[in-house]
């Protein structure tokens, strides 16, 4: 199978859905022909589809999401780009109070087919306002779906499904993933929202990891082979809906779980997954649930500081060894 980058996989998904459905359009800051997005995901799309459907906006995050929401409830399928996930704070009313709730408040009279793409994550030394992992915010708002693809294959398949979904989908990408390559078939495929993927099978311990942390978990698993520890890596791929079944089945098999996420530990995604396991699979556990997450700090700038707060192979291995 051919290999393409995560960035190209996303672009292919956008392009194919725009070709398939005239109601799909893109809206965001500097996504058009002059810049093609801060991470170049929309390269070539304005040239192909025109400036009306690949729409550059003023720096107005709240209006980007509000306008996209207004378009979504009147027959369009907007894909909005927020340049950095951190900036979603500026649009939080439109995301959490409007897009997420209009269908419910209006008794099902409308639907909000809207995708909000944004890059998350630390590791490129751009400090506290461009590095956060805020997935727990969105996971906590009924009405939103949350996708976090870790590979080019998942990125393309999940983005296509998200665009076709009739609900607002927070589509969270990781800025370190854009250049990575992986197999992506030439032919059409989609991936359902709410289907976790076992990225690596193993008998000894379940590691549930999200987004970029999937790759760190897989690297840790490779290192542990030498020590005779077989790690199963489960990638939920979407946090809402969350595929509890695959996580619980894995825990039933291994009896041990380490949860690795890049968001802050307190009230984070790892807490929710731990609670699910505690509620639904406690008696299958042979060891306490372990969590590896960022400490409760903003993301610092200096490489030495930043690397300290991001979970890595070493911290993951340490956590695994504590339960195996």
């Amino acid at each position: 199978m051919r290999k393409i980058t995560y960035r190209d996989a996303l672009r292919e998904a956008l392009r194919e859905e725009m070709l398939r459905d005239d109601s799909v359009f893109l809206i965001g800051e500097d996504i058009g022909r002059y810049w093609h997005g801060a991470f170049k995901v929309t390269n070539g799309l304005a040239e192909e589809f025109g400036d009306e459907r690949v729409r550059d906006t003023p720096i107005s995050e709240s209006a980007i999401i509000g306008v996209a929401t207004g378009a979504a409830i009147t027959g369009m399928r907007p894909v909005a780009e927020i340049m950095f996930g951190d900036l979603s704070a500026l649009a939080m009313d439109q995301i959490a109070n409007q897009a997420a709730k209009l269908r419910y408040m209006f008794g099902g009279q409308t639907k909000v087919p809207l995708v909000i793409r944004m890059p998350f994550g630390a590791g490129v030394n751009i400090a506290s306002h461009h590095s956060q992992s805020l997935e727990a915010w969105f996971m906590h708002v009924p009405g939103l779906k949350v996708a976090m693809p870790s590979t080019p294959y998942d990125a393309k398949g999940l983005l296509k499904t998200s665009i076709r979904d009739d609900n607002p989908v927070m589509f969270l990408e990781h800025k370190l993933l854009y250049p990575i390559e992986g197999p992506v078939p030439e032919e059409e495929y989609t991936i359902p929202l709410g289907a976790a993927d076992v990225k690596r099978e193993g008998e000894d311990v379940t590691v549930v990891a999200t987004l970029y942390m999937v790759h760190k978990a897989l690297a840790a698993a490779e290192e542990l082979i030498e020590e005779g520890i077989e790690v199963e890596v489960v990638d939920p791929r979407t946090l809402v809906p969350l595929d509890k079944r695959v996580i619980i089945d894995s825990v039933k098999k291994t009896g041990r779980i380490v949860i690795v996420t890049e968001d802050c530990k307190t009230a984070g995604v790892s807490a929710e997954i731990a609670a699910v396991v505690a509620e639904e699979a406690l008696y299958y556990l042979d060891a306490p649930i372990k969590r590896v997450a960022e400490p409760d700090t903003p993301i610092p700038f200096s490489p030495s500081l930043e690397q300290f707060v991001i979970p890595n192979e070493k911290t993951i291995i340490k956590a695994i060894k504590e339960v195996v």
């Binding site: 306008v67 996209a68 409830i73 009147t74 109070n97 269908r103 408040m105």
Partner: protein, 324 residues
Amino acid sequence: MMPEKERMIEMFRNMLEIRCFEEKAFELFGQNLVPGTLHLYVGQEAVAVGVCVNLGKEDYITSTHRGHGHCIAKGARLDRIMAEILGKKTGYCQGKGGSMHIADFSVGMLGATAIVGAGIPIAAGAGLSIKLRGTDQVVACFFGEGASNQGTFHEGINMAAVWKLPVVFVCENNLYAMGTRQSRVMAIENVADRAAAYGIPGVAVDGNDVLAVYEAAREAVKRAREGKGPTLMECKTYRHKGHSRFDPATYRPKEEVEEWLKRDPIRRFRARLSEIGVLTEEEANKIQQEVLAKVEEAVKFAMESPYPAPEESLEHVYAREGED
């Protein structure tokens, strides 16, 4: 140019419907039959009616927490609005929204948001949708002078202006944002002056003169429909009641209230219609009786309707596949 005779009579009837509906709702509230709160439109009827009479069923409006008048003026049914206010299953939102979140998508009423100013970018989004779909629809976006101090006002109107979207921004300046008088929070007298900052027309009109509102809205709607972009209309008006349920509005000088009550938009229009020979006293009384009977019927419908089943609280969070 004045509207045709029949149209003016319809406008009068429509204003009376809003007035009688609101007074009835207030009466029911006093009898403890309305859960939660009420923000009455009494006194501002000329704005909703003067604007909406220029719109067709296929045109859109967005509304606010003080939204009953907008719904009625856009053609929504009194009985289903009343049922919603009472929390009944037969309400427009099946009891999920209540007084502050009424929507009727079947008449282009895209719903009321209770976050002040949040509807402005949503209305712009409906305008963008119209532009992308290539129809000749128009959006009227209602909000108060208080909302004009929100960031969404700036972001939404700027975007609509730069993209020449078919939106009429209707600021209902009733002088008070809850208890805060305009002069305490704005250094300008006319919200309409802010239009200059966006390069669009701004017009301030007597919002208690339905013909003045009609005329200004006619121009603005025409301009929008012709693809010339948005207008900011400011309608100077006054709410006869307090901000919400128990507010006695003691922050307003007695003389000011009396002065504005003399400018009651319905009494003025009725006198005008009589003066120009469009409506006799007898005909006006007959209309009033018909409206009162219609409101009574709406109350009967709402009172006799069942409450939603408790489990329905779990529905409409997400649109399911294939669902409208």
